[in-house]
Structure formats: C-alpha cells, structure tokens
C-alpha cells in the first residue's frame, strides 16, 4: 500500500511538472552536443559509391559524408554548399565560386580541380553514374582559378541545379581517387561526417568532422547506420531503443507511432500511386475510355484503405502542392463522378461496360491493394477488372518490353523540378512513353521548351499547359499521394523531414540533428 501511495504521489508530481512546463512559452532549447545517433536502415547498402544512386536508404549515408556544389535544404530550396555563389554567363555557361575554407576529410583543401575531376568522373561512362544521362547536357568543365569553375552546357537547361543538388553529384578528391581508393567500399568527402568503417550487413560508421566548414556543426559525435532485413524487427528495435531513428517507416504503423509519446514520426507525402495505360493497345488507345476510368475512381477511399488515411488524393496534376510549379487551376480535373464515367463509357462505345486487364506486382502490398480497390470501384461503373499479379521482376520485365495493358504503379518524382514530367510523357524517354509508343507532339514541344527556359514564371505557365493537356489525354491517371518518412525516438531533435519527393533528401538535416538526453 505504501509503495502504491509513493507511486501515486510521484505520478502527481510528474504530471504537475509537465503541466507547469507546458504552460509557459516554449523557449527554444539550445542544441546539446555529443552522442552517437543509431540509424536503422531499411536496406543493406550494396555500395558506398557517391555517384551511383543505389536506393534512398543508402543515399542518407552518402549525404552525411559527401557534398555537392549545391544542396537541398528545408522547404525545398536549393542552397549553396561547396559553391558559395554562382552566376550565369549567357544561357549556357555557369560559373561556380567555391568556398575557400573547405577541407577534405584527409586534410587536403578543396580546389576547382577536384570539382572538374568529379564532374568529369560523373560523365564518364565507366563510372556508371546515375545522373550521367541527365547531366550529359554538360559539354565541358573548366578550371578558371583554384576556386572558380566554369560549366558549359550544350544547350540551356533550367533544371541543372536540381540535378547538382542531388547527393549523387558529390564532389570527390582527385588525389584520393587517382591514388587508387575504391569509392565503392570507402568514402572520403567534405561533408559533416567522416567515414570510419563499413561492415557489410551490419554497420556503416561515421564520426563528426571537426573541421567542417560550417563552424560548430554537426552536433552529433557520429552516426551508426545499421541495416535491417525486416521492417517489423526494425520497428521493434526502435521501440526497444536499440536504434534511435529509422527510414521508410511501414505505412500501417504510422498512426500507432504518432500516438506513442516515446516516438516521433517525420512523414509527408512521398510516393504516388497511378495507373499507366498502354496507349497503343486496344481498347486503351481510346481517350474517352481512359477518362471514364479517371472519373470512376474514388480517390479519397483509396487514401483511406491503402494509406490508412495518411496521404492525399490527386484529382488533378501530379505536381505537389508547395512547389513553385504547382497549379491550382488543375486541382480538380477528375473528381469522383461515376455518372460521368458511365456517360463517357457510352461515348467511348462501351454502353454495356467491358473487361480490362490490370498488371501489378504482388511483391508490394501497396500496389496489390491499390489494384484490388480499383477492381471494386471500377466494377460499379461496369468495368470488370482482371488482375494479373506476378512478382516485381516479371512486372519490370514486361513493363520494359511494353508488354502490358494497364499497370498500377507507385512512383515519385525523379528530381525536384517539374521536368520530372518528361520521364512520363516525353515520347523518346525509355522509362515510360517509348515502350508503349505514347507520342504527343504538343507535349514533346512544350516539355522541351520548359526545360531550356530560365524564367520561372514562363516555365510555370508552360507546365500548367502541359499538365492540362496531359490530364486531358490521360495516358496516366494519378490516384493519390501516400506518406513516407522516418520515425525517431522523441529525444532526437533538430531533424526535419522535407515535403514531397524531397523527402528522400531529408538526410541532409542530420547536420543539425542532436540528442536531447
């Protein structure tokens, strides 16, 4: 009984203290230094190569150790990193001025020569760099003086900085690489953390870079990246305190994490589900049929069932809210309207409905469940959906050969620039349009224009036209954005998750992350 009373008194005391502290104005707590953050990764890093994108999970490690000329920062803007400023010379030349106080982790100063070496390496086919295709727009990189680099483009290219801000445009040391270092298995950059060791399947260890050019940062002494084979195990490890933060939080656990006072969820829309049609195959070449399907989908219901309410319906263009290129006028192009869907079906020549075949990988429950919800919803307007659910490699193979009728996909924007739409609509892009022979001259022309214009207002109006036409043609139907993100112990502070497709680059905020304990 006495013990019970003690507990009761304690509870009252703690409760009172909590109430008192929450009553006052929340003064910002100064960040505490020290401590090692244990980061639970969803995938075992296959390599440490800075110029190859081998998954977002692995990218977080690279962001801690490497830096590019510019980088993304909270809110999505591109901020100076190794280049403190830059300026255009005409339409096709950019001059980057480097910071003078930057040192590589081995103590060597960063020079313009390293920048030239890194970009040349990135463009060298032997490197196999992920951004080589997009950055092939670079004609030459010239060293002007030890701290100045000139990049010459083959033609104007407005999304250039969006590519250079990706972690996969990292600047490496010429001396280090030419000295024989294997960048697949070791790392040496200019970033806030220094590489210590990599034990495949178990641990990648990095420690604080005391000479980092941003004085006083980072706060952490280091980060241990620990890969997990199973998501459930990873979440258990977080709950038990074995790890302090994890990426790619399982969707179905997000609400539970939100309600756990010991944990904090950092999530925002990151992946969108969509349907893509093989527009050269009958009957999917029929625009009215595609539009009918677009009207027949109750997207809010999809968000509820597929994303557990953690997402946002897309009734219009896919460019996310918050981007400069977001266009309000396109927001409600395809509201849920089964009557209109039936009318369009009649006009398309299917008064009695029809049967369609939908391909989705059984490997990913998100895709499978989306296709099942669609099956139920489309049945209501008379469209019978036959599901084909093979393994992911089979889906990928068939996709690449254009061997599908309708496909359910979960995608994200490849870059944080509306030029990502080129991946989807441009007729010569091998990723989506080419295999199924989708070709619209008007879209091709506008996309090409929007890529070379350097004026944001003009670009925005072009993307509004592109979005409108693409929605009208409906080679794709966008369904919903779903949340993705990290979960951490509540004592992890200073971490931020960035909205939309930028979420993959939230690892940059580890620079300001600290442990409050």
């Amino acid at each position: 009984m006495r013990r019970f009373l003690t507990v009761l008194v304690l509870v009252a005391l703690v409760g009172g203290m909590a109430a008192a502290s929450s009553a006052g104005p929340a003064a910002p707590i100064p960040p505490k230094r020290g401590g090692t953050l244990v980061y639970g990764l969803s995938t075992d890093p296959p390599d440490l190569e800075p110029h190859i994108n081998s998954g977002a999970s692995n990218g977080t490690i690279k962001m801690a150790v490497y830096e590019g000329l510019v980088k993304y920062w909270t809110g999505g803007q591109i901020v100076p990193a190794l280049a403190e400023r830059w300026g255009f010379v005409g339409q096709t030349q950019i001059v980057f001025h480097l910071r003078k106080d930057v040192k590589f982790h081995n103590g060597d100063p960063l020079t313009a020569d390293d920048v030239k070496f890194s970009l040349d390496r990135l463009l060298d086919a032997r490197t196999g760099a992920s951004l080589r295709g997009s950055l092939s727009i670079i004609q030459s990189v010239d060293v002007m003086d030890p701290l100045t680099v000139k990049v010459t483009l083959r033609q104007p290219f407005s999304p250039l900085l969006a590519y250079l801000a990706q972690p996969y445009s990292a600047i490496v040391s010429r001396k280090f690489v030419q000295g024989g270092a294997n960048l697949r298995s070791t790392m040496m950059g200019t970033g806030p953390f220094k590489f210590v060791s990599w034990e495949p399947g178990r641990l990648v260890k990095v420690v604080r870079n005391p000479d980092y050019w941003q004085k006083g940062l980072p706060y952490l002494d280091g980060i241990d990246f620990v890969p997990f084979a199973d998501d459930q195990t990873r979440l258990t490890a977080l709950r038990a305190g074995d790890i302090m933060i994890m990426d790619f939080t399982p969707q179905e656990q997000m609400n539970a994490i939100d309600h756990d006072p010991r944990l904090k969820l950092y999530a925002d829309v990151g992946i969108f589900m969509c349907i893509i049609f093989n527009t050269s195959r009958k009957p999917y070449d029929n625009q009215k049929l595609r539009q009918a399907i677009a009207y027949a989908i109750d997207r809010d219901a999809v968000v509820k069932t597929i994303f557990d309410g953690r997402g946002r319906a897309i009734t219009g263009d896919v460019i996310p809210k918050g981007w400069w290129s977001f266009n309000e006028g396109l927001e409600n192009k395809y509201p849920y309207n089964p009557e209109k869907a039936k009318t369009l079906l009649r006009e398309a020549g299917y008064p009695n409905g029809l049967q369609i075949t939908v391909l989705a990988p059984i490997t990913y429950s998100l895709h499978t469940r989306t296709s099942q919800v669609l099956q139920a919803q489309l049945a209501k307007v008379g469209i019978q959906v036959q599901l084909e659910l093979p393994e992911w490699p089979v889906v990928l193979n068939r996709h690449n050969n254009g061997d599908y009728a309708v496909e359910v996909r979960g995608l994200t924007a490849s870059i944080n620039d509306p030029d990502f739409l080129s991946d989807f609509y441009q007729s010569d892009r091998i990723s989506y349009a080419k295999q199924v022979g989708f070709k619209d001259d008007q879209l091709d022309q506008w996309l090409g224009q929007a890529r070379v214009i350097n004026n944001q207002t003009l670009r925005k109006s072009l993307y509004a036209k592109i979005g409108d036409r693409a929605l009208d043609l409906a080679p794709w139907i966008y369904i919903a954005w779903g949340d993705q993100g990290e979960a951490a112990r509540s004592y992890v502070k200073g971490y931020t998750h960035w909205p939309g497709p930028l979420g993959r680059y939230s690892g940059y905020s580890l620079l300001e992350t600290w442990l409050d304990r």
């Binding site: 075992d44 296959p46 399947g201 620990v226 038990a240 074995d242 992911w392 490699p393 990928l396 490849s414």
Partner: protein, 315 residues
C-alpha cells in the same frame, strides 16, 4: 572402418553436387531477369541490358556458366556479388562464424540442460518434476521458434529491458555487450532443441532402466548414483547423440529465421539481400554453404555411429 568412411564420403560428395546443381538451375528458372531488376526503371535501354548481361557472363551458354561456377566454388571462390561487387567469400567469412556461434551456443545449452532434465524426469516418471518439465517441453515443441523469439523480444527487450531486442556487437570491441546481444537469440534457438533432447533422454533412460543389467547392478549393491551415472545414462546416450546430430542439421534453417527476428548479421541477412536483389551468385553461395554444412553434419553423425556401434560399419 576405412571402407565405410569412403562410402559415406562419396555419398556426401554426390549429395553436395546434386544440391549445387539444383540451386544453380532453380535460380535461373525463376521468372524475372536479374539484369532488368538491376537496371530498374532509370535506364533499361537494350544496349545497357546487353552490356550488363555480358559483364555478368549471363550471355554464355548455361553449361559453361555452370562449369565455371562449380569449378570456382570448389576452391571456395564464389566470385563477386552482382550488386555490391564485393567478394562473396569475404562476406561469407565474416558471417559464417556469427551463425555458427548462435548454433554452437544453442547446442551446448541443449546438451547441458536437456540431458540432465531428461535424466531427472526419468528418475520419477509421473512425478511433479516430470510433469512440469514435460509440460514445458510440449510448449517448446509446439511453438514455432519465431513465435518464441518474438515473445522474447517483447518481454525481455521491450517490457523488461533486460537485453537488447536486436543487434550485434563485436566480441573484440565489447565482450560484455556481445554476450548481452547473444543471449536472446541463442536461448530462443536452444529452446527449440532442449525439449527434443530432454524427451529422448527421458525415453531412452526409461527403456534402459528396465534392462536386466541395471537390475544386476542394483542387486550387486551399487550406489544408486553409480547405477544411474555409469550404467543407465551412458547406455541411454546413443539415441540422444543421434537426435542431437539431426537437430544440428535442421538448426541451420531455424538459425536463418532467428537471425531475421533479432537482426543478427549472420548468413540469413546475406541470403535475404541476395534473394531480394536477385543476386544469383550470392544466393547460390549462401544456399550452397548451408547445404554443404547439412551434408557435413550428416556425415559426422554417420561416422559417429560407426565409431559407437561396430555393427553399423558393415552396412
């Protein structure tokens, strides 16, 4: 004994070769192409596919691929993993000891606990101890190892915080931390074997206790301890050894599961990575290692029989 040994050895070799062949073929028969998976959606141009196929040696005839792979595997060279480009043998060398450690500790625990418990139960069949141990054993036998593992994680990791729920620390850097991490997975694994060993010991002892020579030993006035320790237990152990050998074989499969639950960086995560990424050489290597280990254990058990019981050597 020599002839027996050679026969056993040849059979084991043939078995290992058969397993290797099946593993090699199966992976190439499953639908989906490793090259397209590796390239993903970013750039699946036909030129890239052809180039990568060539680089990985996948454009050569199947038989040539098989012969090359087998020839190297015999020398312990499994080549490089497709995705990471790392030497597979290096990865294996780091992980095999960790899996062996779990298995070894589990087996030792099973022997140290299973045999005494079985012996004690056999002393008074139907007694309180026998019922209790027997009941717990049934529970241990019927609950799948991963369920026990998850319950342990919940209880000792999340609720009581006695042990870390997951992970691994090197013995060389932090011996105490290492032992703390090894407890839960090793005990979980041991719990799947202890009941088998215990029940076999009990049954075998009960059988032996009714033998004539035990009665003789007793009637000759030997102390009960000597009767049990020297005559009963030793003679009862032959089937127990067999069971331990069999358990050691099937243990390999369970280790994979247990490692998965406790994020123990042994062979299982390597296998899973390989399967997820369709990394043929990696999966082949890991499956082959597990299969060969199984064959080896069986060989050892066979040899042990031969040593213990001369009648078997002739067969």
């Amino acid at each position: 004994m020599g002839g027996y040994l050679i026969r056993r050895l040849l059979a084991a070799l043939a078995l290992a070769l058969a397993v290797a062949t099946v593993v090699f073929l199966l992976l190439r028969l499953v639908p989906g192409d490793v090259v397209t998976v590796m390239l993903g959606e970013s750039d699946p141009s036909p030129e890239k596919v052809t180039a990568l196929r060539h680089q990985l040696g996948l454009d050569r005839p199947l038989l040539v691929q098989y012969a090359t792979w087998l020839g190297r595997a015999v020398r312990g060279d499994f080549g490089d993993a497709f995705l990471s480009g790392r030497r597979i043998s290096t990865d294996l060398a780091a992980r095999i000891p960790r899996s062996l450690e779990l298995g070894g500790i589990a087996l030792v625990l099973a022997v140290l606990l299973g045999i005494p418990l079985g012996a004690l139960s056999a002393r008074r069949p139907g007694g309180a101890l026998d019922l209790l141990v027997g009941g717990v054993a049934v529970l241990g036998l019927t609950l799948p190892s991963f369920v026990i593992g998850m319950l342990f994680v919940l209880l000792f990791g999340l609720v009581l915080h006695w042990f870390p729920a997951t992970g691994f620390v090197d013995f060389s850097t932090d011996p105490v931390g290492h032992l703390r991490h090894v407890v839960l997975p090793a005990v979980t694994l041991a719990l799947t074997i202890i009941p088998v060993v215990m029940r076999m010991t009990r049954a075998s002892m009960l059988d032996t206790l009714h033998q004539d020579y035990v009665r003789t030993a007793r009637s000759k006035g030997l102390a009960e301890r000597t009767v049990i320790g020297k005559h009963v237990l030793r003679n009862s152990l032959i089937p127990v050894i067999t069971v331990i050998g069999l358990q050691a074989g099937t243990l390999l499969g369970r280790i994979v599961l247990i490692e998965y639950i406790f994020n123990w960086p042994g062979l299982s995560s390597l296998l899973l990575t390989g399967v997820n990424q369709r990394d043929y050489p990696l999966v082949q290597a890991v499956v082959l290692v597990i299969a060969v280990a199984f064959v080896l254990i069986n060989l050892l058990v066979d040899v042990a029989y031969g040593l213990v019981d001369p009648r078997i050597r002739v067969a």
